[in-house]
C-alpha cells in the first residue's frame, strides 16, 4: 500500500512518515506546498520514497491548490493519506478526500491497521469527554493526525528508517482553479505571527497559564518561573484566542497542541477537559488554583489551593534557593 503525506514542517512530516510505516504503508510520498521555488532542504532529508513540491504563485491561497495536486495525488493511487493538523492542509486534503467520495478523519487520538485497508481509529468526542473508537475500511483512508499520536502507539518516540531517501523531487505544476468552480480568492496581506521562540514539544518542563491570570501583568510571574526552570510557556485557549496574550502555537488542548512533558505546572487553570487533553500524558502534573473545586485538582500529582500571585513567586524562590544549595 502506498501512502501520501502532507506536512509543513520537518518534525510533523517525520512523525507522519514513521506513522505510515506503522500502518503498513510500503512506500510514502511526501507532499510539501509552500511559496518557495523549490522544496525545502528538510523535506529532502526525510525518509520518504518520493518527494513532491508545489510552489504557490503569489497571491494564491494554499486552499486553491486542489487542481494542482489532484492529478498527481490520484495518480499515486495511495491507500492511506496522512495530514498534519494545520488549518490550510485540512481544507486542501479534505477537498481531495471529497473528490474521492471519502472524508478526512480528524482529531485522531490513536490509529492502527487492523488489516489491509482497514483501521481502528480513536477520535475525540465532545472535546475529550470521551473517545469514539471507529472501524474504518475502504480503498483509501484519510487521517489528520497530530503530534505524539504515533509515538504513543509505540510507547516511545518513533525512530526513522534512515535508509530510505527520496531519489528526486518532483516539482508539481501550478494549475489555476477551474473556471466553473465558483468564488475567487486572492491573498492580499499576510502578517507572520511572532513565534514564542520555544519549541514546546521539546520542553521537559512546561508552565501553563489559564484564566486565573486576570491581568496581563501577572503573566510575568509565570515567565519568571519558566525562566528559573528553563521551561516552555503555554496557555489555555482563551488566553491565546480571546485575550491574545499568547500565540496560537502556545495553546494546549483539543484544537491546539498535545504535549507529554516530564512535568507540567498548571497555574490558574481550572482543568476543563478541552485543555487537559493537551497535557494529560505529562509525567507529573502540578496545579495551582484559587478554587478548591477546580477539576484539575482531581487529575494532578501535586496541588495547592491559593492565589497564583502568592504561590508562583514562592515557588520560583524555593526553586532558586534549592538550585543554589545544590551549587
Amino acid at each position: 500500500m502506498r501512502s501520501l503525506i502532507f506536512a509543513r514542517q520537518a518534525d510533523t512530516a517525520a512523525e507522519l512518515l514513521a506513522g505510515a510505516r506503522l500502518l503498513g504503508a510500503s512506500s510514502a510520498t511526501l507532499v510539501v506546498i509552500d511559496q518557495n521555488p523549490s522544496a525545502p532542504d528538510w523535506a529532502a532529508s526525510l525518509a520518504a520514497e518520493r518527494l513532491a513540491h508545489l510552489a504557490l504563485p503569489e497571491g494564491a491561497p494554499l486552499e486553491t491548490a486542489l487542481e494542482s495536486i489532484l492529478a498527481f495525488a490520484e495518480g499515486e493511487e495511495a491507500g492511506l493519506v496522512l495530514v498534519e493538523p494545520s488549518r490550510s492542509l485540512k481544507v486542501l486534503v479534505g477537498g481531495l478526500a471529497a473528490r474521492q467520495a471519502s472524508s478526512l478523519f480528524c482529531n485522531v487520538t490513536h490509529l492502527r491497521a487492523t488489516g489491509a485497508g482497514s483501521y481502528e481509529a480513536g477520535v475525540l468526542y465532545f472535546g475529550g469527554l470521551a473517545e469514539q473508537r471507529l472501524a474504518l475500511s475502504g480503498p483509501v483512508a484519510f487521517f489528520c493526525v497530530g503530534a505524539g499520536v504515533f509515538a504513543s502507539e509505540t510507547q516511545e518516540p518513533v525512530v526513522l528508517d534512515a535508509e530510505v531517501r527520496a531519489a528526486e523531487c518532483l516539482e508539481l505544476r501550478w494549475v489555476e482553479p477551474r473556471a466553473e468552480r465558483r468564488g475567487t480568492a486572492r491573498v492580499v496581506e499576510e502578517r507572520a505571527i511572532e513565534s514564542s521562540g520555544t519549541d514546546l514539544a521539546q520542553s521537559e518542563i512546561v508552565v501553563g497559564c489559564g484564566r486565573g491570570f486576570r491581568a496581563r501583568e501577572d503573566l510575568a510571574l509565570a515567565t519568571a518561573l519558566a525562566d528559573e526552570l528553563g521551561a516552555g510557556l503555554a496557555c489555555t485557549r482563551p488566553l491565546a484566542e480571546t485575550e491574545g496574550w499568547f500565540t496560537h502555537e502556545q495553546y494546549l488542548g483539543v484544537s491546539g497542541k498535545t504535549l507529554r512533558p516530564r512535568v507540567y505546572i498548571g497555574a490558574g487553570i481550572s482543568g476543563q477537559m478541552q485543555h487537559l487533553i493537551g497535557i494529560n500524558r505529562a509525567g507529573a502534573i502540578i496545579a495551582v488554583n484559587r478554587d478548591r473545586d477546580a477539576p484539575i485538582f482531581a487529575q494532578c500529582d501535586l496541588g495547592i489551593v491559593g492565589d497564583l500571585r502568592e504561590v508562583l513567586p514562592a515557588l520560583s524562590e524555593a526553586l532558586a534557593s534549592g538550585a543554589t544549595d545544590r551549587g
Partner: protein, 267 residues
Amino acid sequence: MEIIVALKVVLDDQDIALASDGSLDTSRAHQVASLYDLNALEAAVQLAALEEGSRVTVLTVGGPEIDDSKLRKNILARGADELIMLLDEAARDWGSFETARALAAMIAKRGTWDLVVCGDGSADRFAQQVDVQLAAALDTLVFDAVVAWEWAGAQDGRLSLKRKLEDCEQTLACTLPLVVSVMPDIATPRICGMKEILAAGKKPVSVLTAAELALDLADIEKSGGATRFELIETRAPARQKRAARMYEAASSEGLRVFCAEAAALIG
C-alpha cells in the same frame, strides 16, 4: 445577500453523565445548537444587517430527535429569518461526507445563495470537515479560520476575509459565492431578548425528509463507500491515576511543603 448557516444540533455535554465503567449516559442530555455554530449564526446575522434585503437561513441535518420546539425558537430568536431541517433516521449517524451532500441538496432546493457560513467545528467530533465537503459538493472555494470580514457592498461584491492561521494572519479578497467557517471570536452570540423570543415562534420552519429532497441515500452510502466507518464504542478515556496531594497556600507551612514537593518532582 442570501446567507446560509449550517448548524449542527448536538447533545448538551453538560448533561452527559459518565458511568463508572467509562460509558456515557446521554439519557438526560438535551439537544442544543452546537456552541460554535451560534457564533457563526451571529456573524451571519451581523453581516446580513449590512446589506438591505439580506436573509439568513439556517439549515440543520440530523435524526428526528433533534426537532424540538424550544430549540427551533432558540435558533430563530437569534436573528435568523428561516429554519430548514432535514430529519431522517439515517442522518443520525452521518459523517461529514453524507451531511454535506444533504446540505448541498437542501441549498439547491432552496434557490440562490451567496455565502455559506459554518462554525469552527461541532461540539461532538470537531472534525471541521462539513464546510470542506460542502464546498466540494457545491463546487465552490472554502476558507476556514475566519476571524473577521468586511463587506464592501453589493456593487463591489467583494468579501474581504481575515483569517488566523497557525503562523500568520492572512487577508483574502474574495468574490462570492463562497463557503467559510468562522472562529468563535468573530462574533459573540447575542442574548435573546423577550421580543425576539416571542417573534421566533412566528418565523417559517420547514422540515424535510431525505425522500422529499430526492436525496438517494443508497447512492450517498455507495459513493461514500470509499471509506466506510462504523462506531465500535464511545467511552471516557482511562485516566492516569495521580496522587493529588493537596496543600493550602493559606497556611505558610502548606505553601512551604508544597514548594519542597514541587522541587522534588521537578528534580
